[in-house]
Symmetry: C2
Subunit: 204 residues, 2 copies
């Protein structure tokens, strides 16, 4: 994989480890390794320690499965948030994306996956225990099913809807329609067709 021309096994090994990261090829890995060689030992140690520490010490919120430095994540622990509205998402990346919008003040539930028969992921692979307990306990008013608008997302939505609709809660999904900035001419036809079928009152 690497040429013999490295003249340092240490460099070769470091570059090989960096090249295991997704989207980083051998040339970039070598460039990064050589960059680190020019940095102080303290700087390189700061990077290494941050990675190891994160991997070894990070925890998952025992309430919502979001990543957390504590047993309960900051979002679940925030009493200013509406504990009765739960936004169900696939991964922690989705939590980050929604938090960035600043539009949601309820809690999350991270499924840790999405039903995908092709990938061998079934309903039993989703982390649903805590969510189910909350729903059964009657502490949830609304579930917002915020999964990707894909075949897998739709399948998971359907499964969750069947599972939770017997309870006395509202089940919603984010509005679907034209994205802000979309040009009609270039909108995909399914989105455009549905957005016309589901048209809403015009507001000034």
């Amino acid at each position: 994989m690497f040429a013999d021309s490295y003249s340092s096994k240490l460099l070769e090994n470091a570059a090989a480890e960096i090249a295991k990261l997704p989207g980083i090829g051998n040339k970039t890995a070598l460039r990064l390794a050589l960059h680190l060689l020019k940095k102080s030992e303290d700087e390189v140690r700061a990077l290494s320690n941050a990675l190891t520490k994160m991997r070894e010490e990070i925890r998952y919120c025992s309430s919502c499965n979001n990543i957390s430095d504590n047993d309960i994540c900051e979002i679940c622990a925030n009493t200013a948030r509406n504990q009765a509205i739960i936004c169900v998402v696939e991964s922690i990346k989705d939590v980050m994306a929604i938090e960035k919008t600043g539009q949601f003040k309820g809690l999350y539930h991270v499924l840790g996956g999405i039903i995908s028969p092709l990938d061998g992921v079934g309903p039993d692979d989703l982390k649903l225990q805590n969510l189910q307990s909350k729903v059964v306990a009657g502490s949830v008013n609304e579930l917002i099913l915020t999964l990707s608008t894909t075949m897998e997302g739709d399948t998971t939505n359907f499964y969750l809807y069947r599972k939770f609709s017997p309870f006395n809660i509202t089940i919603t999904t984010p509005a679907r329609g034209l994205a802000i900035g979309d040009e009609i001419e270039y909108a995909d036809e399914i989105t455009l067709g549905r957005s016309i079928a589901n048209r809403m009152p015009f507001k000034l």
Copy 2:
């Protein structure tokens, strides 16, 4: 720099450290950090250790300044190589590039820089001590000045030529001309002009 929406300082810190690497922005850093979260502790530790170990244990060849795991690098230690021909380069990256060609069987001398008044790099910033000792001792027959064909490279070439031409050695540079695969129509005019002025006998 990062949103509050991380819900983990450990993740935030890891992403911030990764984002210090050249060419890696905040989004990529976050993606890489999340990728590492999914890897085993052993895999993350392997990466961290490789980086720290490389930085702390790597050495520079006491003969040619190339990186090395030992006091003398593999190239200098290889008695099958011609010790009397020295290829003078700017950095260890150049050594790697030339080694890859498999066309050079002499030794190297890594200057660790190139004369660049604009960047505040003068002749005294080049690592020349060992090379000078070798030349003075009479153990060098030829110096191949293999620096970039830029203003800075030319300046450094000129400096080295002045310094070493009083000794009884041959001083050369790699051939300049059209690159293999160049189309005449698109060759830059300086290269094309010089390549015609310095034309060479046609060989079948």
